[in-house]
């Protein structure tokens, strides 16, 4: 998943609320490291983003799901003054500012950013001059920093998708390839290319075998030879992270490829399609129905809460069907 989430566009009646909530969410995640607050802000922003009309008061917002006392007060404050004191403080805090900037580099998370801040780094430029303390991943992130900050237009992803499919299926036509993420949700632009691959011969019962599965390495090799992949951030048995480029005319893009066992493919697709808020709601619903859902499997919960054996799943619809959740097309999962 990409680091940058799209801010809500101005066409949304509540876009300004959403954006300040998202900004608060980022702050909670990166600086205060409070993931629960981060989730709360994200959820509130998602709810507001879905709301068809402009919210006129905090009380009105409060009736919506995911918005409680504190957030409704913030909305009131924003409506009354046009700004938010907490946000002003954050903006004026050089530490927050620096951390927010540093975390934009792939491979640098809040913890690393804080440690870099403590070492005296404040900007990307300072980092580029002294990259000694960075890992390989972070160095590559720094190298393509500008390109990675750019959004990828949908049409470019379509071209990347076509090339990926052609190249991978020329290795073995049985490979199934799906690009997930916001692209699959129909967004006009995305932060990265999130690819899932599976093969009928690769099932979860083979995952723990000692001999390494060479499938992903072969694929990455082929894609590198074809000049699509130009840099590797990390490569394991089942997950590749790297940089790709259609041709020198195009910016370098973040590309993730995951090799998923065939029997877990649809759970993975569901998970990596997101959105993260949608995933959370869906998982919460699954638990209500007596199931546990993650990116690998859907399992029924036993009477003492012990998850049962994985349920056989043959399509994304199956998962919705099992937990009795109305099916939503990927485009409708943006909330």
């Amino acid at each position: 998943m990409s680091k940058r989430k799209n801010p809500v566009g101005e066409e949304n009646p509540n876009y300004d609320f959403c954006n300040f909530l998202l900004e608060l969410a980022e702050y909670e995640k990166n600086v205060s490291r409070n993931m629960h607050k981060f989730s709360a802000y994200k959820k509130a922003a998602a709810t507001l983003g879905e709301h068809p009309t402009r919210i006129k008061s905090g009380d009105e917002a409060r009736k919506l799901k995911g918005i409680g006392d504190k957030i409704s007060k913030k909305i009131d404050e924003f409506l009354a003054t046009g700004k938010l004191k907490k946000l002003e403080n954050i903006h004026n805090d050089p530490k927050t500012e620096a951390i927010n900037i540093l975390t934009k580099v792939t491979g640098i998370g809040p913890a690393k950013a804080l440690s870099l801040y403590n070492q005296g780094f404040r900007t990307i430029e300072e980092l580029q001059k002294n990259p000694e303390s960075l890992t390989h991943h972070q160095k590559i992130g720094l190298k393509y920093y500008e390109d990675f900050e750019k959004k990828i237009p949908r049409q470019e992803i379509q071209e990347i998708e076509k090339r990926l499919k052609d190249l991978i299926q020329s290795i073995d036509s049985l490979y199934k390839i799906t690009i997930c993420g916001s692209y699959r949700r129909g967004k006009s632009e995305s932060g990265d290319v999130d690819t899932l691959i599976t093969h009928p011969n690769w099932t979860s019962d083979k995952v723990n075998k000692k001999d390494k599965n060479p499938m992903l390495k072969k694929i990455i090799n082929a894609l590198t030879v074809a000049d699509l992949i130009i840099d590797t951030l990390s490569l394991g048995e089942t997950k590749f992270m790297g940089a790709c480029r259609l041709d020198s005319e195009h910016p370098v893009r973040r590309l993730d490829i995951r090799l998923t066992p065939y029997d877990q493919y649809y759970c993975s697709i569901l998970y990596f399609t997101g959105s993260d808020v949608f995933n959370k709601t869906m998982r919460a619903h699954a638990v209500e129905q007596g199931f546990t859902l993650n990116e690998y499997t859907l399992r029924p919960l036993g009477s003492t809460g012990v998850p049962g054996e994985p349920i056989e799943i043959t399509s994304e619809e199956d998962i919705f069907d099992f937990i009795d959740y109305p099916y939503k097309k990927p485009e409708d999962r943006n909330a």
Binding site: G290, G302, S303, P307, I311
Partner: protein, 596 residues
């Protein structure tokens, strides 16, 4: 793996008045437990095991539950249940909604069970069923079997019941005095028919669309020498298999094997001699006019052939023989490729070696070359895979075939009731060796055998005794039988009656109606009435002329059934099919299905 006995039901969440939780204790797989009302969230039952046991495997038969979970506890620890088998899927949402595959069976082995729970001993088992996908059904279990690796104790009482069938103890065969000699006789009977007899066989089955008899004839026409050769690999196979079961078993079958081998050699020698003697015309002719009538019925084909041989002297260019197909024991099942499902060792190994001994081939998994599935219960994964593609039989098929040393029609042992209800196809009748199949034949048993043929019977008993003596002496002298036997003795028309004589001697003739008072209503056509009466008498039942108070059953036609029931409300009214079926199966069947 022995089964752990379930002592009683400790508790349950709810039960249907008809499908009570106590049904789980019953060995009858038709009895099931269902929750009381539709749409219950989950249904659970707590079972008390006879003693604390380490559970190594669980077989579960479903009844419309989507998920089933098994937890364990000890009665002295307060309801602290641990998961032994995580919630496992038995039905998909689609199956649940459409009520398809509601009785799937899954067998969980040690690998499926949770660690470390599966390595401890438990005496309480809680089974939790749920059906979230269909709120309009009652759900529960059809059976549960818990296995332990502990040595068999009185817990299982030495017998295993599968449905209505009691599985015999492990010993490959009961060897009683005189029994072996009776078996030897079967062997001699099992020599392949001569060419002319084979042709006659084929013609007597021309009504059948099946071409199988011909194929079988071809096989059985192989020369004695060839058979002796083909024996070799079969024996090797068997030896290998004996590694899988305990010594006691193998001892028994080694003994049999030795005897078999000897017999085979004797047979080969005898056949050689017979070929020489064939050139001289037959001299012995039976004068049994009564039997001539029987010969008119094409159904009594075996009798018919024997008969014709006897009466038609001019046709006697070869020795008379039975029209039935016979094969050496190790080729009885030679076109059978079988797969086993739901049966665990050591029984699995013993079944397999029995079938291999009879010439069948074993496969671990079903493929297109397989013909039979030997299956413990319906709806196992293999059962569903094979359904409609192959013959699914109970284990008793192999056991009976082995025990009686003949290939019995599989349909009698069909696991699926639908299969069993279909008429037995001709090819199986063809292979049917010594069991009376045709109606007139059993009439012979009661009438001809005991009355008209009284003197013959004595004659034959004498011959059998003589032959047994010879067998013994031939054993003593090695294999030097050439001068002690003259083939003419064995070439009489006696062969196919012998099993009856033997049975009589053993006191094991079918007499399953013995002690039953049966009234056959006159509402039947005369023919049918006579036939039914014959059967009842043949199997030692009491045929009443009128209904008395202690009548066990009234057999009547449908039109008359209500009248009969009105007049004799205390007596059961059965369909004639009950008698016919009993005759066909050679055993008494539960009447329930046939009652008006």
């Amino acid at each position: 793996m022995p089964q752990v006995k379930i002592d009683h039901i400790v508790s349950f969440s709810s039960e249907d008045p008809v499908h009570a939780a106590s049904n789980i204790l019953s060995s009858d797989s038709n009895k099931k437990w269902k929750c009381r009302s539709v749409g219950e969230k989950n249904a659970s039952v707590v079972l008390q095991l006879e003693k604390a046991s380490q559970i190594t495997a669980i077989d579960i038969g479903n009844e419309h539950s989507a998920y089933i979970e098994v937890l364990v506890s000890r009665s002295s620890s307060n309801d602290d249940y641990k998961v032994l088998l995580v919630t496992s899927c038995f039905m998909t949402p689609v199956e649940s909604r459409q009520s398809q595959n509601i009785n799937k069976v899954r067998m969980f082995t040690h690998e499926h069970l949770s660690k470390p729970e599966c390595d401890e001993k438990w005496d309480r088992v809680k089974i939790v069923c749920s059906q979230p996908f269909n709120k309009h059904v009652q759900f529960g279990l059809s059976f549960v079997r818990i296995h332990s690796n502990e040595t068999r104790t009185s817990a299982t009482g030495g017998t295993t019941k599968i449905g209505k069938f009691v599985i015999r103890p492990e010993s490959p065969d009961n060897i009683l005095a005189g029994n072996l000699f009776a078996k030897r006789k079967d062997y001699k009977d099992d020599k392949p028919p001569t060419a002319a007899a084979a042709i006659r066989n084929v013609t007597s089955f021309t009504t059948s669309p099946s071409c199988k008899p011909k194929i079988l004839n071809k096989n059985s026409n192989t020369t004695p020498k060839k058979q002796a050769n083909t024996e070799e690999p079969a024996n090797k196979n068997r030896n290998r298999d004996e590694l899988f079961y305990d010594q006691e078993d193998s001892k028994g079958s080694e003994k049999l094997e030795r005897i078999m081998k000897k017999k085979e050699e004797e047979d080969a020698m005898k056949r050689k001699m017979e070929e020489q003697v064939k050139k001289s015309p037959k001299v012995v002719v039976r004068k049994d006019n009564k039997k001539a009538e029987m010969a008119k019925s094409p159904a009594s084909s075996r009798k018919y052939d024997t008969k014709r041989k006897n009466e038609d002297d001019s046709a006697h260019t070869q020795k008379p023989k039975k029209s039935k197909l016979s094969k050496p024991f190790n080729k009885l099942l030679d076109n059978v490729v079988f797969v086993i499902s739901g049966i665990q060792n050591p029984e699995r190994a013993s079944l397999r070696s029995m079938a291999l001994e009879m010439g069948a081939k074993y496969k671990a998994d079903w493929d297109s070359t397989c013909t039979h599935l030997i299956c413990a219960f319906v709806n196992t994964p293999k059962f569903n895979q094979v359904k409609g593609k192959g013959k699914i039989v109970k284990r008793t098929w192999v056991q009976k075939c082995h025990e009686e040393r003949k290939r019995l029609p599989w349909r009698r042992f069909a696991l699926d009731k639908n299969d069993g209800n279909l008429p037995e196809s001709e090819d199986e009748i063809d292979e049917l060796l010594d069991v009376p199949e045709v109606t007139e034949y059993s009439f012979d048993v009661s009438d001809d055998e005991h009355k008209a043929e009284g003197s013959d019977t004595e004659e034959r008993v004498a011959k059998i005794l003589e032959r047994q003596k010879q067998d013994q002496s031939s054993k003593g002298n090695g294999l030097d039988v050439t001068n002690t036997k003259t083939p003419s003795i064995f070439d009489l028309d006696t062969d196919e009656e012998e099993p009856y004589l033997i049975s009589d001697n053993d006191n094991s003739a079918p007499d399953f109606f013995r002690g039953m008072k049966i009234y056959i209503d006159h509402s039947f056509e005369e023919d049918e009435f006579n036939t039914l009466q014959k059967y009842v008498k043949a199997y030692k039942g009491d045929c009443l002329d009128y209904v008395t108070n202690d009548t066990d059953v009234i057999v009547t036609a449908k039109e008359n059934s209500s009248l009969m029931k009105e007049n004799h409300p205390t007596v059961k009214c059965a369909k004639s099919r009950w008698i016919l079926k009993c005759h066909k199966k050679q055993t008494i069947l539960p009447m329930d299905e046939y009652i008006y």
